[in-house]
Subunit: 344 residues, 2 copies
């Protein structure tokens, strides 16, 4: 297994990326290829026997900045670290690519350079959300606005396959984000998607409302990219707001400061449970290759986890299982749309 890591991507690159890769090296069964400005990256690696034997550097002289227009930057910089990462994947020289760089450019590259799985209409971004008993997958998290019902049904299948083969959960529970739990609730899109999901070869458990996204006993939550992005950002904004209220109260006088001091370990545990860095990054599902899109402000720990997420997906054969699942779904649909054999 080869995991290509964009050493120049992210707000704290290349230092945070190289540190994260070093931390992950002992846990990775294959090779980590750090792609970026060769000399700068080499300088950050330890020399001699303390250098992990499964880390290699591939030189890529250009960098796509975080704020650059994806399409323009990709065309203008053919030798960017991000481009070279995706090319390694395209050419079969790597199994996964990880980047905390310009996510728009990463997705653009993945979608134009890597072939889409046969039968799939749209690739999707899957994120791991924290939850009351276990993390859950939400997709699409923002790649596709204006979806059709079939897109959502295929997202459900992809989430289910990912959950089963990368996270090792048997028969994952797939739910549809809607407003109202009963079948028939929601908007035109979700009502039609409900029927397709019910007929699809997966464990569809029905609608979930927004208040259940973090609290319901489900493994996969399906929605279009507009709603998915809203869910992610509202959850993040609400968390930030509550934590800011809490911080203000913790500083409001001697009594509160003492209380805060006593609660510090607990507050740290809450922060860890809600920290994006625990979850490593988002996955672009539906292309030939594993692409892990990490947060721009990724810390070494976030990069380490992103590399481990990539390894899990490669090891589980997620791409192969996705292709197989999509094929099965298409066959089911064909069978459904064929007329019943008539007695002769």
């Amino acid at each position: 297994m080869v995991i290509a890591v964009d050493a120049m991507g992210g707000d704290h690159a290349p230092e945070a990326v190289v540190t994260g890769a070093l931390r992950s090296a002992a846990q990775v069964e294959g090779e980590i290829v750090l792609v970026g400005a060769g000399e700068r990256v080499e300088a950050l690696l330890p020399g001699g026997s303390s250098r992990p034997r499964n880390i290699r550097v591939v030189d890529a002289p250009e960098i796509i900045g975080m704020g650059e227009d994806p399409g323009r930057a990709v065309r203008a910089k053919p030798d960017s670290s991000l481009s070279v990462c995706v090319n390694l994947l395209r050419d079969g020289e790597a199994d996964a690519a990880v980047s905390a760089g310009n996510s728009g450019a990463f997705m653009f590259l993945a979608q134009v350079r890597l072939r889409k799985l046969p039968g799939l209409q749209r690739s999707a971004i899957a994120v791991l959300l924290p939850g009351s008993d276990k993390p859950r997958i939400l997709l699409d998290a923002g790649a596709n606005t204006d979806c059709k019902p079939l897109h959502l049904a295929q997202f459900g299948l992809m989430g289910s396959v990912y959950c089963e083969y990368a996270l090792g959960r048997r028969d994952p529970k797939v739910a549809l984000l809607s407003i109202g739990e009963e079948p028939g609730k929601g908007d035109e899109l979700t009502r039609a998607a409900y029927e397709l999901l019910r007929a699809a070869p997966l464990n569809f458990v029905g609608n979930v409302d927004g208040d259940k996204v973090l609290n319901a006993d489900v493994d996969v939550i399906v929605c279009d990219g507009f709603a998915g992005n809203v869910v992610l950002k509202v959850a993040e904004g609400t968390g930030d707001w509550l934590m800011s209220l809490l911080r203000r109260e913790l500083r409001a006088g001697l009594r509160s400061r003492l209380g805060a001091l006593l609660l510090l370990p607990g507050l740290r545990r809450i922060q860890a449970a809600t920290d994006y860095a625990t979850y490593g990054g988002a996955l672009l599902l539906g292309v030939r290759g594993i692409c892990v899109v990490s947060h721009g402000r990724s810390s070494p720990r976030a990069i380490e986890n992103a590399i481990l997420v990539a390894q899990q997906a490669v090891r589980g054969g997620v791409v192969e299982h996705l292709a197989e699942g999509l094929g099965r779904m298409a066959a089911d649909e064909e069978a459904l749309s064929e007329p019943e054999p008539q007695p002769v």
Copy 2:
């Protein structure tokens, strides 16, 4: 001013409703009409001189239950407390109706019995959300799925008028919920609505992302009812989840328990800041009459605040200003669609 209150609506009716109405009585400049099972309501009111002189009881023998199908219940129970409340509004005998009962039935009644304002395509539910510096209005919070761009533009106008005349904020800042802040970001609906909002006679400040819903310096946030419901419920679910993590930590051993004790006043302040009861209820905007839809589990304080919200809206002349604003918007559109006069 007359405010009709559904005494039988809500999980804790009639006790919580009557108590809330009693608490509000001294703050209400007009009359409160408690509509419900006459004897039960009378029995909850104090007798003699301690009974507020501006509370009157109107008998309505039937009750629509919280779980009943709205359309069916409304037809089967013509003398329900909810029906009688809306009839008082329709007949000009009340200026506002407040109910914590079956919200579907309330909206159904309001939409079929009260005339829609001229030029308006769809009425909408507006809710007050807490926020970093001030409460903000979100609409539509769930009445309309599958909206058209003009619906969203009219929601923006209604939110702006409500904010100006009921909350007393000059020139309210109206934002559009989207994914991405730049113009042109979002889905088909929001991109088209952006242009209409920019041209509308209101202070449109552009897109807001989900993480800014509670944190941005805005007064009104516009979205379709699917997204609005998702925003409300995700915020609620995230808050519940974080508070449950916090509660668990506060009980995790002696040290934490002591810390929790010291922090109690601060935690209570946070709870108050995030409590739905502070905000009294949602408003159905766009019909002739003020309708305040309160939470089913309304406490006396929530009912008290709902009655005060209704009073604010009546006192500010919200219905009249809405009619005027919608007329102005329609005139602007006509002017825009007329061909430029040609030189002769």
